[in-house]
Amino acid sequence: MSNANIPPKPGGFIPRDRNWQPDALTPPYKTSVKRSPQSALLSFPTTLSEETSPVFGHNMLGALDNDLIHNFARSGESAIGPRIIVHGRVLDEHGRGVPGALLEFWQANAGGRYRHKKESYLAPLDPNFGGCGRTITAEDGSYEFATIQPGPYPWPNGMNDWRPAHIHFSIFGHGFAQRLITQMYFEGDPHIQRCPIVGILKTQEAIDALTAPLDMNRTVPMDSRAFKFDMVIRGRRQTYFENRKEGM
């Protein structure tokens, strides 16, 4: 039979580029020193255990899950800080939008303070801001959420280290091999080049990949500015010639 018009089958996931991704041991980020494996990772091709993952349906989402301005606020009130929309797409390495990806995000409030028992920064909590949200990407891989711009905050590493303003993202695609946590930074933040955690990234290209530009086209006049943040997760090899038994 000819291959004409038969779509290629998905193969295993494309191996992770360990020269692009940060190393485990990065001494300027001190906590990594005792938390980094020293033995070589064991490499092997993905199997069903890594090519499958749980399904998260849109029906699990609440109406305010992607609105951090209101999802923790008292009725009629809202979180303090610059109102922003964060939007973009989740793509695979082939550039295709990934639908149905679960995104969870968390952040400090506008003063740089997290709502957490172990957080002791002197900036005050905002009674109307919890700091977490979630959404699931649409058919084209797109997503958006409303929040306030988080503040930079100091952290114990060097004597005077500050995190740039950032939002943490957890990304859940369709294979456990795609599992990824990262952070989004904001265009123009002078702390980006000074931060030891950003500093683990190996190239300016990698830093740029995590820096969201201001997107005036998506900005809502007299309401919220917008920042665009695309994320890329691992893609699967495409092949007509996968040497696998049926059903794998």
Binding site: K34, R35, Q38, T52, H174
Partner: protein, 203 residues
């Protein structure tokens, strides 16, 4: 020369000390979403043997991590995944296969109430020993660490497992074996570095 127009995977950044705000907010005291995702793997009566797995993530000094998050993913007792990518059959409808544990805030101990996984084939058709895929993130971990939980009481299957048999340093294999305890639960401690460093996977 033409360009290969692939995109690069987003660079990883640490989950940081407050990953639980985002992924297990109820654990941190935030009343969100009607409960934390992955807190329950069983949504009704399940098929197979129900098991408990407990463990602690240790750093290179032997100190327990109290800010880690551990996720596990596994098939049901018949070896089927509750996944859209599962084409071999339909998994136990009362078993999600996915668990997420923040670890105890004081001791760092994580707990999963799950079922003993069935065996799943390797891409070449050989059967793999029953195992659970695990993923660990925390402050100080720059990119999430993948490992596997195998079971010490599956000696025969382990001895034929396509991955376990490929490991050069066979004396490190016990780091991948959950140990049966007197109370019937399994113990799976994770050592990020040091003499008993867990084998981590580049998958």
């Amino acid at each position: 020369m033409q360009r290969l127009d692939y995109l690069r995977e987003s660079p990883s950044q640490t989950a940081g000390p407050y990953v639980h705000i985002g992924c297990t907010p109820n654990f941190t005291g935030l009343d969100m979403y009607g409960g934390d995702l992955g807190a329950t793997m069983k949504t009704g009566p399940v098929q197979g043997t129900e098991i408990t797995i407990k463990g602690i993530v240790f750093d290179g000094t032997g100190t327990a991590l109290r800010d880690a998050m551990i996720e596990i993913w596994q098939p049901d007792a018949a070896g089927l995944f509750a996944s859209a990518n599962e084409t071999r059959g339909t998994a136990d409808p009362n078993f999600t296969g996915w668990g997420r544990s923040p670890g105890d805030m004081d001791t760092g101990e994580f707990t999963f109430e799950t079922v003993k996984p069935g065996a799943v084939p390797f891409p070449d058709g050989r059967m793999q020993a029953p195992h659970i895929t695990a993923w660990i993130v925390a402050r100080g971990i720059n990119i999430g660490l993948h490992t596997r939980i195998y079971f010490e009481d599956e000696a025969e299957a382990n001895a034929a497992d396509p991955i376990l048999t490929r490991i050069e340093h066979q004396n490190r294999i016990p780091t991948l074996l959950a140990q049966k305890q007197n109370d019937g639960s399994y113990r799976f401690d994770i050592h990020l570095q040091g003499p008993s460093e867990t084998i981590f996977f580049d998958i």
